[in-house]
């Protein structure tokens, strides 16, 4: 067999507080679709950023056609034919399609951009990705799926031989995703290799010639085309059988503690949300990205006050206009974006853990330093936060420990209802399981838990009951007995044709 088109040998990379890659190797053949999968925090994104020249590895080698190369910058990567298509697209909304494709490489004519020529050439690349739009259209006016195709056209225009796609379908509709798959097939036929990163195992099964699984920054295993199966992939990703991974035991729900009746969020004012939540039960909220799940939690927690409807907490009607008011009635929210909304990165573990309790523990406006120390010691102990001492700056903790700090902040207030938004995003497998165990423990103690997750396994593994949302509506509710991949997907897409 000839040398692979692109090979990575023993690549390592560390960041403050995390060892993202610990000697990862992959190989990519010409005209191959290689899926790289793994849980959040497994190191996929770091690996791809290194290949695309965004970051540089600490050690290890990158080879192209058998010869070692060094990729120092994005420019370097492009020159070697490697293009990364980011999860968040990198297009200038205010420029037209053709200008975006040739951004930074505009052909000139008499010192000015040769607009005619770039539009003509752009047409060629747009045809290659099957996108039928006028090159003079402003990118910002195109739907997200088309914008993605523009990105691919841009990559083709620099003669990319390796196309890295990071979660390309995460914000696409089912139809747009189908179109993308067809483009990927065509690209492969024309000799382009694709590294495809996705959480959606259905897509992977459909597209990939081969799968490389990463776990905690290491190679967990490879699957050839004929070996690719859902269970096989999950097993490699989590490192054990999924059935043992979720410590879930059914709970007997107690009294209703949260009753939501006809709440309207500012994000989706056209739909009224209603459901109940009982003490001691864990309810999952499933749905695709953009289904309005985060917006629902933020409204219930008073971040973006409701436009209408009523909300009862333990039988008392409230309409929180701010998180402060929500906290007052025993609600707590572990937000989606840990680094922006959850922790204050530059402050210490102690200061973060005590932040929400300062008001409660104050003595005539003065902080109670002793109580703060006790509290942080208690949370470090009971949540097993791995930190040398409680004066450690939170920034230097791993994602999982940061998340525990956020949890500790709320548990210090002994909430009745705990909202968790993507509680295990970006944290390693071990910490994940600890979070699950904590959820279990809290539910047993009678806390009502409502958690949003985009990971199907997590919804299936941890929910006593699941709500499914689609475009701002709750499209259904599934009891644990009726919980299945298919049932959730059907409700999440509300009858739309499912791509995966």
């Amino acid at each position: 067999m000839s040398a692979p088109l692109l090979e990575v040998r023993k690549l390592s990379k560390s960041f403050p507080g995390v060892r993202a890659l610990k000697g990862v190797s992959i190989a990519l053949q010409p005209a191959e679709v290689l899926a790289v999968i793994g849980e959040n925090g497994a190191g996929k994104s770091t690996l791809m950023k290194i290949l695309a020249g965004v970051q540089r590895p600490d050690s290890g080698a990158i080879l192209m056609n058998g010869a070692e190369v060094e990729i120092r910058s994005v420019h370097d990567a492009l020159a070697r034919g490697i293009a990364l298509i980011h999860q968040e697209l990198n297009l200038a909304d205010n420029l037209d399609v053709a200008s975006n494709i040739f951004l930074g490489r505009e052909p000139l004519r008499g010192g000015l951009v040769d607009t005619k020529r770039i539009r003509r050439e752009a047409r060629k690349f747009l045809d290659a990705v099957g996108l039928d739009v006028d090159p003079a259209t402003l990118v910002g006016t195109l739907p997200i799926g088309c914008q993605q195709l523009v990105e691919i056209a841009k990559a083709l225009s620099v003669n990319a031989r390796v196309l890295i796609m990071d979660e390309p379908t995460s914000s696409l509709s089912a139809g747009e995703a189908e179109k993308l798959f067809k483009v990927i097939h065509d690209l492969r036929s024309s000799g382009v290799s694709v590294i495809y990163i996705s959480h959606r195992l259905g897509e992977v099964k459909k597209l990939a010639d081969r799968v490389t699984v990463l776990r905690d920054g290491e190679n967990a295993g490879d699957l050839a085309r004929e070996e690719i199966s859902h269970n096989g992939m999950v097993k490699l990703m989590v490192g054990r059988d999924i059935s043992q991974f979720y410590p879930h035991e059914p709970h007997t729900p107690g009294q209703i503690v949260l009753e939501v009746a006809g709440i309207r969020t500012p994000a989706h004012p056209g739909h009224a949300l209603s459901f109940t939540l009982c003490a001691g039960e864990i309810v999952g909220v499933a749905g695709l990205v953009g289904a309005g799940r985060t917006e629902m939690l933020e409204t219930l927690f008073g971040v973006t006050p409701a436009l209408g409807g009523t909300m009862l907490v333990a039988g008392k009607e409230i309409a929180p206009r701010s998180p402060l008011e929500a906290i007052g009635v025993g609600l707590a929210l572990v937000p989606e974006d840990r680094k922006r909304q959850g922790v204050i990165l530059e402050m210490t573990v102690r200061d973060n853990v005590s932040l929400a309790s300062l008001r409660k523990d104050q003595r005539a406006g003065f902080r109670n330093g002793r109580r703060e120390r006790e509290l942080s010691a208690e949370m470090i102990g009971s949540l097993r936060i791995k930190t040398p001492h409680d004066r450690q700056i939170v920034q230097f903790l791993s994602g999982g420990n940061q998340q525990k700090v956020v949890l500790g902040k709320w548990l210090a207030l002994r909430p009745r209802v705990l909202f968790l938004d993507e509680p295990t995003r970006g944290i390693d497998v071990g910490a994940k399981q600890e979070i699950y165990r904590l959820m279990e423990e809290l539910a047993r103690e009678g806390v009502a838990i409502l958690f949003v997750s985009s990971e199907m396994e997590e919804i299936l593994g941890m929910s006593d009951r699941a709500l499914v949302m689609h475009e701002g509506r709750i499209t259904g509710e599934l009891a644990r007995a009726g919980l299945s991949d298919e049932a959730v997907m059907r409700l999440a897409t509300a009858g739309e044709k499912v791509a995966a």
């Binding site: 560390s14 403050p16 507080g17 995390v18 060892r19 927690f301 971040v303 701010s322 998180p323 402060l324 929500a326 906290i327 929210l333 937000p335 922006r340 909304q341 959850g342 922790v343 204050i344 990165l345 530059e346 402050m347 200061d351 932040l355 929400a356 300062l358 008001r359 104050q362 406006g365 003065f366 902080r367 791995k386 930190t387 040398p388 450690q392 700056i393 230097f396 903790l397 791993s398 420990n401 902040k409």
Partner: protein, 332 residues
């Protein structure tokens, strides 16, 4: 405390150099003067530091100093207001300006830079308007009131030096500010929201209110400073009274360890920063004939100081990160 070590050492160094170059530096008269000027700058610097700690900026400090500095003698001598009424009026105006800034910044979400830049222009303009650009002053009157700024407090067992009265104001303000910042929940809220306003809000902190409080503290201390400045100098020219004081105050805060990104700063550091600026000015005045290069020197020192601070901080961060990584990979 480690953070202000560098700047304190720099202050000591500048003092020693100046003392060597100029005999006059250590004279009781010069030190008294220096202490008074430092106290006045220190008061307004503490105010602006609160705003900087919450991640904002206040460019209107100098104009509030002007408004109050011109307004007080104008009310007393031209409008013949009683002393309590005039004092109450300037206090109300100062606090009102703070509320005005804070509300516009938090409720209308307009950048602090813009809001206070407009304030900078408006308040001086107003002062120039009601005084009709005429110098205002106390003449020979109000000596009792003026003692607040010009008074001297003799220190037991010390000869040849008496403590200028503004130093007492500074010490009280600094003490209260330090207690507020370090011991109360509001102080902690300000530090937290300066670092990450969103996370602070999600943690149940009324961030808008805290930001408004910070601007009120700033304008109130600017007003206090303006009053003491004019009581000290006896007269005020609306055209340039308090000119550039906001920049001196911001420089003192930044030299003293406040980051313009917010969330950082100590009261002691700010005092050292204010002292450093005043000593530098004093040095230029005593040892050279070029007082007009003052800004160049202070600018250069500030720049070098901030660069050094940033480099030290980066180095410390890297070491800390390396240690944290080690601690985490070690099985516990």
């Amino acid at each position: 405390m480690k953070k202000i070590l560098g700047i304190t050492a720099l202050l000591a160094l500048v003092c020693i150099i100046t003392a060597i170059l100029s005999e006059g530096f250590l004279s009781g008269y010069n030190i008294e003067n220096l202490a008074r000027r430092t106290a006045l700058l220190g008061i307004i610097s503490i105010g602006v530091a609160f705003v900087i700690i919450t991640g904002g900026i206040d460019l209107s400090v100098g104009s509030v100093v002007c408004l109050v500095g011109c307004g007080l003698p104008w009310l007393l001598t031209k409008q013949n207001w009683s002393m309590p009424a005039a004092l109450a009026a300037v206090a109300l105006v100062s606090v009102g300006i703070g509320i005005f800034h804070g509300v516009i910044i938090t409720k209308l979400r307009i950048a602090p830079f813009v809001v206070t830049l407009c304030g900078l222009m408006m308040y001086r303009g107003i002062a120039r308007g009601f005084t009709q650009d005429q110098t205002v002053g106390f003449g020979g009157e109000f000596t009792g009131l003026r003692t607040l700024a010009t008074g001297q407090i003799s220190i037991p067992f010390v000869d040849g030096f008496t403590l200028p009265a503004p130093c007492v104001f500074l010490l009280v303000a600094a003490l209260l500010a330090a207690i507020f910042l370090n011991r109360t929940i509001w102080g902690r809220y300000m530090l937290a929201l300066g670092r990450n306003e969103e996370a602070a809000r999600y943690s149940g902190i009324n961030t808008d209110r805290m930001v408004i409080v910070a601007y009120v503290i700033c304008s109130a201390l600017s007003g206090l400073g303006g009053m003491l400045y004019v009581l000290d100098s006896n007269t005020a020219q609306p055209v340039d009274f308090g000119n550039f004081y906001e920049l001196y105050a911001i420089a003192a805060a930044v030299l003293g360890g406040c980051s313009l990104r917010g969330g950082e700063g100590t009261i002691v550091g700010i005092l050292v920063g204010a002292a450093l600026i005043m000593v530098l000015r004093n040095m230029i005045m005593l040892t050279t004939n070029y007082t007009n290069i003052e800004f160049a020197i202070i600018g250069a020192v500030l720049l070098i100081g901030v660069i050094a601070d940033e480099l030290v901080k980066r180095y410390a961060m890297r070491r800390r990160a390396a240690r944290a990584l080690l601690a985490e990979t070690k099985p516990s």
